[in-house]
């Protein structure tokens, strides 16, 4: 039995499976059918609800969340929004309804929740922020203009609010043949990992959640990392940023923005707010997808991982962590504890570029990440990594050598870029052809030159005013 606060009231989920998705649960049991299933893969946003964490209102995809993940948290669905405005409709609901922001209305509850969360946040609600907040919601009827208009005036903070206290989750939820473990410490986590073979190690669930929502997997054992204190830590040393493996993208953003602004821009294009509020860098790394957006960046930045088991800890450079297509050197009894990212030196520049069919919430065709060290007006060292070009995110070693020349000009970058087809032999799929991937990976080096050393003020279509 999972206990949570649902629309302001304490709620027990009874004998529902702890791996049941929050979406299916709220639609069936308390009959909160305002929350819709549009895709069951976290891409359309019709299932958006708000999770309140430390008095912060976060939009999340209820289709990806397992009940066990939301134990002891506070969830607000579209039916509960009026509680925050003395039982009256909130401004965003009025603005959407009055301004033509709804047509068929199926996506609307999701938009209401995404914008309700935005309204509760202290951000300035300018257009880029509004688009950022809406990137996880698809509407097929309106063409978005009235929704964006509603957001401009209707994202107003509702009455002040104190999160209802609720006891922290138990060590596990159990139901029939399923156990959902909630370790609170690294020690407990690694013990469980060593003991329970084949358990689903669950972090944000933005990828693994699909096995539940679409493939209808009923996992016998789940070990959830979201409450492991060591994995939730963010710290900084003189030389490194250390991100616990269960830190969400959203939580990491401010730190990354300060140290690696280009990386922050990229993270804003990973999924949507709904996804980034759940997804973790540790999950992205552990997943080891060749198109995981953060991975080429972490390789280029020469990050390292701390891997932990009941035997102890070891540190591996992230580059050697990936050994093949979705294969890592993580042992059966190990978990990723944290990711250590070296800080940039004064003479280092980092850039990353992502190319996809759609700017927001799309999976990259190609992603390039570049760390250049400049000494005496030349590139003394280049760490170049790409995603989408090989079975695993990989460095472009020949290209790197090509950049380490004795001068810096566009020819140097053009010459170096000719090594891309030697470094990589990509495949064709539904996102892009091999030819396109190679060509773009090559051309991104020219963008890099123009970005760092050229004179053009506009280099990306999204930035054109």
């Amino acid at each position: 039995m999972v206990r949570l606060v649902l629309n302001g009231k304490l709620h027990d989920t009874g004998d529902a499976s702890p791996s049941m998705t929050l979406l299916e649960y709220v639609r069936e049991n308390p009959n909160l059918t305002g929350t819709k299933e549009g895709c069951a893969e976290g891409d359309c946003g019709a299932c958006t609800v708000v999770r309140v964490v430390n008095n912060k209102f976060e939009a999340v995809n209820s289709c990806l969340l397992q009940l066990g993940q939301v134990g002891s948290s506070e969830i607000i669905s579209v039916e509960g929004v009026k509680n925050f405005n003395g039982g009256e409709l909130s401004a965003i609901q009025n603005c959407l309804a009055e301004g033509g922001g709804t047509q068929c209305g199926f996506c609307t509850p999701g938009f209401v929740m995404a914008l309700f969360a935005l309204g509760q946040s202290p951000e300035e609600k300018d257009d880029p922020v509004i688009h950022d907040a809406l990137a996880g919601n698809l509407c097929r009827c309106t063409g978005y203009r009235p929704i964006v208009d509603a957001a401009r005036i209707g994202c107003i903070k509702n009455i002040s609010y104190e999160q209802r206290p609720i006891e922290s989750p138990p060590e596990k939820y159990q139901n029939d043949n399923q156990t959902f473990y909630i370790p609170k410490s690294l020690k407990k986590l690694v013990n469980l990992k060593g003991l329970i073979k084949g358990a689903m190690l669950l972090s944000g669930g933005t990828d693994l959640g699909l096995s539940i929502s679409k493939e209808r997997v009923v996992p016998e054992n789940v070990i959830y990392t979201g409450h492991v204190s060591e994995l939730r830590e963010i710290s900084e040393t003189k030389n490194e940023l250390i991100l616990g493996a269960a830190v969400t993208y959203t939580e990491a953003l401010d730190y990354i923005k300060k140290l690696y602004p280009s990386f922050e821009e990229l993270i804003r294009r990973i999924g949507s707010r709904q996804i980034r509020n759940l997804g973790t860098l540790g999950g992205n790394v552990g997943n080891a997808s060749p198109i995981g957006d953060s991975l080429p960046c972490l390789i280029s930045l020469d990050a390292s991982l701390t891997l932990a088991s009941s035997e102890g800890e070891r540190e591996v450079p992230i580059e050697s962590f990936f050994v093949g297509y979705r294969e890592t050197c993580l042992k059966e009894d190990e978990v990723i504890k944290n990711i250590k990212i070296p800080k940039l030196l004064n003479n280092q520049i980092f850039r990353t570029y992502k190319v996809s069919k759609r700017y927001d919430q799309d999976i990259s065709s190609v992603i390039g990440a570049y760390l250049l060290t400049i000494e005496n007006s030349r590139i003394s060292s280049a760490r170049v990594a790409y995603g989408g070009l090989a079975p695993k995110p990989s460095r472009a070693t020949k290209t790197e050598s090509g950049l380490e020349g004795n001068r810096i000009d566009e020819d140097l970058f053009i010459e170096a870029s000719k090594q891309i087809p030697i470094d990589f032999q990509p495949i064709s799929d539904h996102r892009a052809s091999a030819k396109y991937r190679t060509k773009v990976a090559t051309n991104l080096l020219i963008r890099l030159y123009r970005d760092l050393f050229g004179s053009e003020n506009e280099l990306e279509v999204v930035k054109v005013q």
Partner: protein
């Protein structure tokens, strides 16, 4: 007909969508939100993994033994006919001995919950014998494989006209298909009643067709079947014929297990198993004179019909009828090729073939301009339909309401095209990486179903004794605001506030034998039917009031929720009560048939359209020459909607259609593997526009003071589909940006959708041409 000044929500006012406040609190009930009846079963489908295969054997015994399973059906279990073809015949619900596309339903299971049905599906064992498959338009065309007899529109002698022309161009262009991606996937809930009764809640634009399909597959009468739909979570043509299979499977299962059965297609199954917009391949040759006047055109329009005809005849017919767009072409040969492929049968999608036909002719106009080194606008202006001559379409209809040149001139002036072009020249000269482009798109769109029989509608109106009104009609609500517009009509007729008009679910037992809500004609048809019903009751009420006041019924006026006779008046509700007590009926049906239309499907000639709508757009884009990424920077639209029934709703239709069209032409790409399996079957792989993709400068002007020349409902015009084609300006602007990279010396080779990859490839071709050009010097 008079409009309404003093009541809430009459016609021509921006009344809100009737469900807007339900939408924002999650209180609008969609079919999956209805409380489950006891013992409601859920369904999973078995879809063919092969594009083309014989079914040698199906063994369902293990599935039947699975926990919770109530019924398993294959083609053999269908009590009536295994055929749900909307136009032709032989279009099965479940594949019998042959599967013709990967994703075709082969079997279905109803179980006590979805997971049990899903688990049991894997236990069905099917033995297939794979056959060679035909997966491309070109391949089917080469093999002469068509789903029905290929149609053509012929006027004059195009071949001779082209031969006699000063100049001739030939070319090819292709455009992709499009998934509807309605947010609510297909769903039906079938509830067996007593005897052979079957009630089906269906998310459908065409309740009558679901009714017919269910009666046919169950072998029962149409009067045994009732279909109801309150609202859909989007449809866009995807729930015109495609909802029938969903309703039919649910009903067959419900009939078999005698329990309510709900079939909700999960997103991936929805995208894999149901039809989409037709992709087209065009080949053309056009003859013209030195000022660009077109003398003759031959356009071959080959479409991916898919495994069966479904609605392809209508779609291709409409493509052929819009291959002229707004231009007079004296000699034409437009040939349609309904290519039979081993892919899912394509179907209706907003525009219904017209977007594709227009994309072809606009490519041709651009080609002629390129050949003559003249601006596209010049070519357009010498080819517009005339008003007194040069005004007959290739299919024989006289264009009598042409306002295309005025609209285009007004918009061109508004956006100052020459200045914008100069600014772009300057930008492109100073930017190496990014390049801009700009283009205009004119749209003339014919309103009415090509098939005359579908241009009829019915309505049912009751007035109750408290003065509240119950409204029902044959149109369906998919988000487009039809229910609101028709309620506005009724509110205007009675001169009562719209709050007093209750809009009720569309049901086949209230208004029978309906046409689909499609072809942009929903409010034209149903608005007029409801008008007629309300006028009928109003006439009776006026007589009762006249008797009461002792005046002639001409002296009765309905105004501001009251009924007046000179200085005396009663409230509307008092007159309703009085009418009842006088034993006069307060209920009426209304009926409407569109006048003056005819169409001969054999010769493809006639006057199929009651009128045309006109619109134009200008879009400016920017492309990245290193990656092919693109973005729309601004769009200006001028659209004719006649005297708008509801300017707010019409604006929503224009903006929404434009963005949907933009998606079709840019980011939405359907990809199949070499075995014919769809790879893009969810929003993670199939990318419809998001909020940031909408032009940041997006100005929509509705043409005012332009009532429809024909007497439509309050002189309004249809609006659902026409603005989608305005998005072709985006695609033309992208082509312009690519062409500018080569200083207009080479024609861009850019099909639709113009994905980043397609744009980069087109740029590369231009760069190669420029390279070889330089070498040759």
């Amino acid at each position: 007909m008079s409009a309404s000044e003093d009541i809430r929500g009459g016609v021509h006012k921006s009344a809100q969508h009737d469900s807007a406040f339900k939408h924002v609190v999650g209180g609008a009930v969609f079919i999956d939100d209805m409380p489950n009846l006891p013992e409601t079963q859920e369904v999973a489908l078995l879809l063919s993994p092969h594009a083309h295969a014989k079914i040698l054997n199906i063994d369902t015994s293990k599935a039947e033994a699975c926990s919770g399973v109530a019924a398993v059906i294959t083609a053999n279990c269908i009590p009536g006919l295994n055929d749900i073809a909307p136009v032709f015949s032989d279009e099965p619900v479940l594949a019998e001995d042959l599967v013709e596309y990967a994703g075709q339903p082969v079997a279905a299971i109803a179980a006590d919950n979805y997971d049990n049905a899903f688990a049991a599906i894997e236990k069905i064992k099917v033995i297939y014998e794979e056959l060679p498959s035909v997966l491309s338009i070109q391949d089917a065309w080469d093999k002469g494989q068509f789903t029905y007899e290929p149609p053509k529109i012929v006027s004059g002698d195009a071949e001779k006209a082209i031969k006699d022309s000063d100049l001739v161009v030939k070319g090819e262009i292709a455009c992709g298909g499009q998934d509807h991606f309605y947010l609510e996937s297909q769903i039906a809930l079938a509830i067996p009643g007593e005897g052979s009764d079957m009630l089906v809640y269906s998310s459908t634009q065409h309740p009558t067709e679901v009714q017919h399909g269910v009666s046919r597959v169950l072998g029962i009468n149409q009067n045994d079947v009732t279909v109801e739909v309150r609202r859909m979570g989007g449809a866009f043509g995807g729930k015109e014929s495609q909802s029938t299979i969903v309703g039919a499977i649910a009903a067959i299962l419900a009939d078999k297990c005698c329990k309510p059965v709900k079939l909700r297609l999960r997103r991936d199954d929805d995208m894999i198993a149901t039809g989409k917009r037709h992709d087209f391949l065009f080949k053309y040759q056009v003859g013209f004179n030195p000022i660009g006047k077109i003398e003759g055109a031959i356009i071959d329009m080959a479409a991916r019909s898919g495994n069966v005809a479904d609605l392809s005849a209508g779609v291709i017919g409409r493509a052929l009828c819009h291959g002229d767009n707004a231009y007079f072409i004296p000699h034409t040969l437009f040939r349609g090729w309904p290519c039979k492929t081993n892919t899912v049968s394509n179907t209706a999608f907003r525009g219904f073939g017209s977007p594709q036909g227009m994309l072809a002719i606009e490519t041709i106009i651009e080609h002629v301009a390129f050949e003559l080194k003249m601006p596209v606008e010049k070519i357009r202006s010498v080819n517009w339909y005339g008003t007194s001559d040069r005004n007959v379409t290739p299919y024989g209809q006289t264009v009598s309401d042409n306002i295309m040149p005025e609209i285009v001139d007004r918009l061109a002036l508004e956006v100052d095209l020459p200045r914008r072009r100069k600014a772009i020249d300057k930008y492109n000269a100073s930017h190496e990486t990014l390049k801009k482009g700009i283009a205009m798109m004119p749209v003339k769109f014919g309103i009415s179903f090509n098939a005359p029989a579908l241009n009829q509608a019915g309505a049912l109106v009751h007035v109750y004794t408290d003065g509240s009104v119950h409204l029902n009609h044959g149109g369906t609500e998919m988000g487009q605001g039809l229910y609101t517009k028709v309620a506005q009509v009724v509110s205007s007729v009675f001169q009562i506030d719209i709050d007093n008009v209750k809009i009720s679910s569309t049901r086949t037992d209230k208004v029978p034998n309906t046409a689909p809500t499609a072809a942009s004609a929903g409010s034209d048809l149903n608005g007029m039917a409801a008008y007629n019903a309300a006028e009928e009751i109003k006439g009776r009420m006026a007589q009762v009031a006249a008797d009461h006041f002792g005046v002639d019924s001409d002296g009765i006026e309905f105004r501001k929720n009251r009924v007046y006779a000179g200085n005396e008046n009663l409230s509307f509700s008092e007159v309703a009560e009085l009418t009842w007590s006088s034993r006069v009926s307060l209920s009426a049906t209304g009926y409407y048939q569109t006048p003056d239309i005819h169409w001969d499907t054999k010769t493809m000639t006639g006057s199929p359209f009651y009128y045309y709508t006109y619109g134009a757009s200008v879009s400016e884009v920017v492309i990245d020459t290193l990656t092919g990424e693109s973005r729309v920077l601004s769009t200006d639209i001028l659209q004719d909607v006649g005297s708008s029934l509801n300017p707010a709703i019409d604006l929503g239709q224009i903006e929404g259609a434009f963005v949907q069209g933009m998606g079709w032409l840019t980011s939405e790409e359907l990809v199949w593997d070499e075995r014919g399996r769809l790879l893009t079957h969810g929003p993670s792989t199939y990318k419809i526009p998001g909020s940031r993709d909408v032009p940041p400068k997006f100005k929509v002007h509705i043409l005012d003071d332009m009532p429809n020349k024909v007497p439509t409902i309050y002189r309004s015009k249809a609006v659902g589909e026409p603005p989608l084609m305005l998005a072709i300006s985006v695609w033309l602007a992208l082509r312009d940006a690519v062409a500018r990279v080569g200083d207009y010396r080479f024609r861009p080779e850019l099909n639709a959708p113009a994905t980043p990859e397609a744009i980069l490839l087109a740029l590369e071709k231009i760069q190669v041409e420029m390279g070889s050009h330089t070498l040759n010097k």
